[in-house]
Each structure stands twice: as structure tokens, then as C-alpha cells.
């Protein structure tokens, strides 16, 4: 008798998913009678609330900028408030006739953000583009050049202010956060202590108090006649605040990099900064993309707190717009839904973008070979 020969079995594709939508529904929503009952009850409640909301928001809504029409019984949402007040909400107290300037500035800023997020544009000249766009942004907003009338920063407001605060504070906080995170792992005790102290101090206070300090206390310590614009002070406050939180997130990523990576870089002759730049940070940052984006999103929304120091960004501009007009004041809810939609669009875009970034940076972690 001969020894049996080895018969390799040819690889086959995995079987098609047998679950399907109907099977999924049956298993997850109607698995047993309690589940089925809950599905019916909760589903019914959801359906009822949805129809109520849709009827209020669409079918019974009043769309004309006429507050009399909104006061009629049985009328639902009063979207006329947006039609009437949208310029005040979007641009705050910026002089009405010159509102094409913040509008253009906002469009430019959005364009810059989209370009910066696109891989094809990741070149050295992107830095130059930032400098140019930011210069144009400030020139448009502040004026005083090219025959544009001067508009002081305390009259800036609405969406451009929100975008400016969010973009600049994130852009500045990120490098600071990287340095602080590296500093916390430094061999030098002075740097390590300083960075730890910075993070602990900032994390120990609410953003509101940082903003108050930047706005009201900072000038007290400055010599007579020396002032820094409140917008810049607040911007720095948000930046330092966001950087402390971000630094902790990045720290977590740094801790996840095995010591062997650093040793291998050392044996290859890489300096400390080369090791961090080429070996450690690319891996550490890729690991923390979701948490970093979480930080970015919360920073974006935290900019709404600057209202308390009389800077009327989107949220502040809304209350400004409606509180100043007794006729429209009852329709706060519609106003808040409107800006909630704006916030949501930005935050949703950021969260989708973070998924894409994660994919881009974790290619090396996938074991299978991608076929593009």
C-alpha cells in the first residue's frame, strides 16, 4: 500500500451572506414575543413622534417672514424667522451694507478647509495658501485697506467668527499639543514638569473661566496703554485650552508605540527629532485619529462659549437677533434648529472625514493587500 498523497483543496470564495434584511428583522426585532412587543410599542411611538414633528416642521409650517401669520392658532413651525433674520444670525452685528465681506471671507475659509483636507493638495505650498487666505480673510473682515471701511473686531459675528475661532484655534492647538505630548515624555525633568503642570492646570478649570480670564483679567496685568484685541486673547484662550486636551490624547498614542521602534530608529542613527517625526508620530497620530477628531468637534462647538465675553458668534448672534425684536422673540426654537443644522453639518463632515483619514493612515496595519 502506498502512502496517501497530499491533496490541496483549492480556495473558494466565502459563502454569500445568508441573513438578508428580512432575516435580520426577524432575528433582531421579532426574536421572541417580548422583543416583538417592544418593537411594536417603541416603533409606534417613534412613528407618532416623527409624524408630529414632520407635520409641525413642514406641513403646518409658515414660511413667510410675517410674524402675524405665525401667531395664528394651529400654525406649526415659523420658518419666517429665518427668512427675516438670517443675515443677523449668520453675520451678527457686522454692518449690514458691508455683509458681502464676511460672506466672501466665509466662502474663502471654507474653500481653504476643503483644499486642506484633500490628499491631492498636500504639498508644501499649502502653508503659503493658508497665509494668503488668512490675510485676505482679515483684510476683508477688518477692512481699513483698499478703500474698505474699518470694522472693529467687536462687531464681527456669526458664522465667520465661529469658523475663524474654530479653525485658528485647532490649527494652533495641534502643534502645541504635539510638543506638549512629547514634552511629557522628555528625559529632561524641567520640560516634563512644565508640560505636566500646563496640562493639569488647564484641565482643572472650565473653558468659561479661561475665557473670562483672557477677556477681563489679562488686561489688569498689562502695563497702562498696552492692549491686545479681545478676539486675539479669546483665540489664545481657546487654543491653550484645546491644546491641553489634545496633548493628552496624543500622549496616549505615544505610549502605544513600542520601545523597540525607538531603539530601531536609534540604531539607524536617527536623531531625537527625526525619530519622532519619521517613526513615532506618524504611528501615534494614526492611532488616535478618532479621539483627535472628537477633540476637534468639541472645540468647534466650544467656540459658542465666547458669547459670554460679548463676542457674538453663531449662537450668540442668534440670541442677539431674536432678543432684540419682540415680534420674533417667541420663535427661538426655530432659530436654534436652524443653527443646530449648521453645527451638525460641520460636525458630521468632520466625523466622516476622520473615518477617511483613519483609512489613509492605517494602510500598513492591514495584513491583506489592497487592490485599488
Amino acid at each position: 500500500m502506498t502512502a496517501p498523497t497530499f491533496q490541496p483543496i483549492a480556495p473558494r470564495p466565502a459563502p454569500r451572506r445568508t441573513e438578508g434584511l428580512l432575516a435580520w428583522l426577524r432575528i433582531n426585532l421579532f426574536g421572541d414575543w417580548i422583543t416583538g412587543l417592544m418593537t411594536v410599542v417603541l416603533g409606534g411611538a417613534l412613528l407618532y413622534l416623527m409624524t408630529q414633528f414632520i407635520s409641525w416642521a413642514i406641513f403646518r409650517a409658515s414660511w413667510h417672514p410675517n410674524f402675524e401669520a405665525c401667531r395664528v392658532d394651529g400654525v406649526g413651525a415659523c420658518w419666517g424667522v429665518i427668512a427675516e433674520k438670517y443675515r443677523l444670525i449668520l453675520f451678527g452685528r457686522y454692518p449690514f451694507d458691508a455683509q458681502w465681506r464676511p460672506m466672501l471671507a466665509t466662502v474663502l475659509m471654507l474653500g481653504l478647509l476643503v483644499v486642506s483636507c484633500t490628499r491631492a493638495f498636500w504639498h508644501a505650498w499649502l502653508g503659503l495658501l493658508w497665509a494668503v487666505v488668512l490675510t485676505v480673510f482679515f483684510a476683508l473682515m477688518y477692512g481699513n485697506v483698499l478703500g474698505l471701511a474699518r470694522v472693529e473686531t467687536d462687531r464681527w459675528g456669526g458664522l465667520p467668527l465661529t469658523l475663524l475661532l474654530a479653525t485658528l484655534s485647532m490649527a494652533m492647538a495641534f502643534p502645541i499639543a504635539v510638543l506638549v505630548a512629547l514634552g511629557r515624555r522628555s528625559q529632561l525633568p524641567a520640560i516634563r514638569t512644565f508640560c505636566a503642570l500646563y496640562v493639569e492646570l488647564i484641565r482643572g478649570v472650565p473653558l468659561i473661566s479661561v475665557l473670562f480670564m483672557a477677556s477681563f483679567m489679562f488686561p489688569l496685568f498689562m502695563p497702562e496703554g498696552f492692549t491686545v484685541d479681545v478676539l486675539i486673547r479669546v483665540l489664545l484662550g481657546i487654543t491653550l485650552f484645546a491644546a491641553a486636551y489634545m496633548a493628552e490624547v496624543i500622549s496616549g498614542g505615544l505610549q502605544a508605540i513600542p520601545q523597540g521602534q525607538i531603539e530601531a530608529a536609534a540604531t539607524l542613527g536617527l536623531s531625537y527629532w527625526q525619530t519622532q517625526r519619521q517613526v513615532v508620530l506618524p504611528q501615534a497620530l494614526a492611532l488616535v485619529v478618532p479621539s483627535l477628531m472628537n477633540n476637534f468637534i468639541s472645540t468647534f462647538k466650544d467656540t459658542s462659549l465666547v458669547t459670554i465675553v460679548s463676542l457674538y458668534e453663531l449662537t450668540g448672534a442668534l440670541s442677539l437677533a431674536l432678543n432684540s425684536d419682540a415680534n420674533w422673540r417667541p420663535f427661538m426654537l426655530e432659530g436654534y434648529l436652524f443653527i443646530a443644522l449648521i453645527y451638525f453639518m460641520f460636525c458630521f463632515a468632520m466625523s466622516r472625514y476622520s473615518l477617511w483619514v483613519e483609512q489613509q493612515f492605517n494602510r500598513g496595519r492591514k495584513r491583506s493587500i489592497e487592490t485599488p
Partner: protein
């Protein structure tokens, strides 16, 4: 007699205050010499070779590499690391870079070599370890044996005078050990100075000029492989060999 390329002179090292990991190490290595270091775990083998490129610092005694004494001076450390290549048990390839980028990282950033030239030279090293066709893949897409060969090629890109191997086959499946050892045997034939911590006694017999046996931070015995394996002099080495060869 030629000047030794590595010279340990009464070297002592402690981890913390109490763990005396290297005790009175005296060792000199001639250029081109191939040394295998073995011994039970915790005996200080890895620490010994990691002192040579200053991944570990010693507290007492002196250590010369290629005529230069190792100190805390950053320039000295940079200089020595250019001459010493190292291969780790866990490969330590950079997972976010392709195989080719792993090899060209140091030539481009440390050696200031143009990218094209660095890639050309890297491909030569990859061909040498028979893995050139994987240049565009990421390390985690390769088998352990392939990864370790890439790690060897990466170390060779610096044209080192000395190669240190820290248990290069211990993390590999048995089927892959041979492909790595074959590459190391070829390297040994080219006259590069090698210090290798390993328990692959077949490799030691095939290429080593000298086998060093360590225990509890000391060099217990050193001899040529034939005499070491057939007539170990010390009872600790006899005991060790009977354990690793006895089955």
C-alpha cells in the same frame, strides 16, 4: 596582532540599584571575528551586545568600539551607531512604511542621500536577502522570516563594520528559521564582524569563530565551537548544553 574592533575592559552594569546585570566583563573582538553568545535567560547576553551601540549604558569600566571609547557624548554615540548595525528579536520594522521606505529612511535622513540613489542601494540589499519582490509591501503583510530578512537588509544599508544580532530567530516559526540563518551564514562569509546572541547551535558550529557562554552576568567560558560543544570545561556550561542539546 591587529587592534581589536571591540574591547570591553572590566565593564560593569546595574539595572536600578541592586540588579548587577554585567559583572567584570573583559572581552576583545578582532575585526571580522564571528562570535556567538549563549547562556540561560537573564544571564546578560542581550545587555552585553546592547552596550556596544549604547542602547544600554554601563556604569563602570570602559568600552571601545573601533578605537573610540563610548561615553555620553552624543557625537560619539552617533559615530558608533553608524558603524554598528543591529537586528532585533522582534524585527522592529516600521509598520507605517513600506519595506523599501524602511530601508531608505536612514540613508535619506541621516546620510542625506538623494532618494533615487538610496532606493537603488536599498534594492541591492533586498536582493541580497532574496526579498526584492516584496519592496512595495508593508512589513505586516510579510511572514516573520521575511520581516527579519528585511530587518537585516535595513541594517546593512548603513554599511556597518559590525553587526549585532539579538536572538534573531527566537520569534520565528520553526519553518522560517532556516531562511534567516542562511542569510546570516552568507553574511558571515563576507568578513563582517558579527556578534550573535542565539541558541541555534547548528549556526554556531557552522560560522562562529568563538562561542561565549554567559551566566549571571559573567562570561563563564569561551572557546572555539568544536571544543565548546564537545568538551565544555565549566559545569554551568555542561549543564546548559545538556539541557538544550539533550532532546
Amino acid at each position: 596582532m591587529t587592534q581589536p574592533i571591540i574591547q570591553f575592559d572590566k565593564l560593569n552594569k546595574w539595572y536600578g540599584d541592586s540588579f548587577h546585570v554585567l559583572r567584570d566583563i573583559d572581552l576583545s573582538v578582532a575585526p571580522g571575528e564571528r562570535i556567538v553568545i549563549c547562556g540561560p535567560s537573564g544571564s546578560g547576553k542581550s545587555t552585553l551586545i546592547r552596550c556596544i551601540n549604547r542602547l544600554e549604558t554601563h556604569q563602570e569600566g570602559r568600552l571601545f568600539v573601533d578605537g573610540v571609547e563610548l561615553t555620553d557624548d552624543a557625537r560619539v554615540i552617533d559615530d558608533v551607531r553608524k558603524k554598528v548595525g543591529m537586528v532585533f528579536q522582534q524585527f522592529n520594522l516600521f509598520p507605517h512604511l513600506t519595506v523599501l521606505e524602511n530601508l531608505t529612511l536612514s540613508p535619506i535622513w541621516v546620510g542625506k542621500m538623494p532618494k533615487e540613489e538610496a532606493e537603488e542601494k536599498a534594492m541591492i540589499q533586498l536582493a541580497r536577502v532574496r526579498i526584492a519582490e516584496q519592496a512595495g509591501k508593508y512589513p505586516l503583510q510579510l511572514s516573520g522570516g521575511q520581516q527579519q530578512r528585511v530587518a537585516i537588509a535595513r541594517a546593512l544599508c548603513l554599511k556597518p563594520k559590525i553587526m549585532l544580532f539579538d536572538e534573531p530567530t527566537s520569534a520565528l516559526d520553526p519553518e522560517m528559521i532556516k531562511e534567516v540563518l542562511d542569510v546570516m551564514i552568507e553574511l558571515a562569509a563576507e568578513g563582517i564582524t558579527m556578534l550573535c546572541v542565539t541558541h541555534e547551535m547548528g549556526f554556531a558550529k557552522a560560522v562562529a569563530d568563538r562561542v561565549i557562554f554567559m551566566d549571571q552576568g559573567q562570561i563563564v567560558e569561551q572557546n572555539n565551537p568544536h571544543d565548546f560543544f564537545s568538551h565544555p570545561k565549566n559545569e554551568r556550561s555542561q549543564d546548559f548544553l545538556s539541557k538544550i542539546l539533550g532532546h
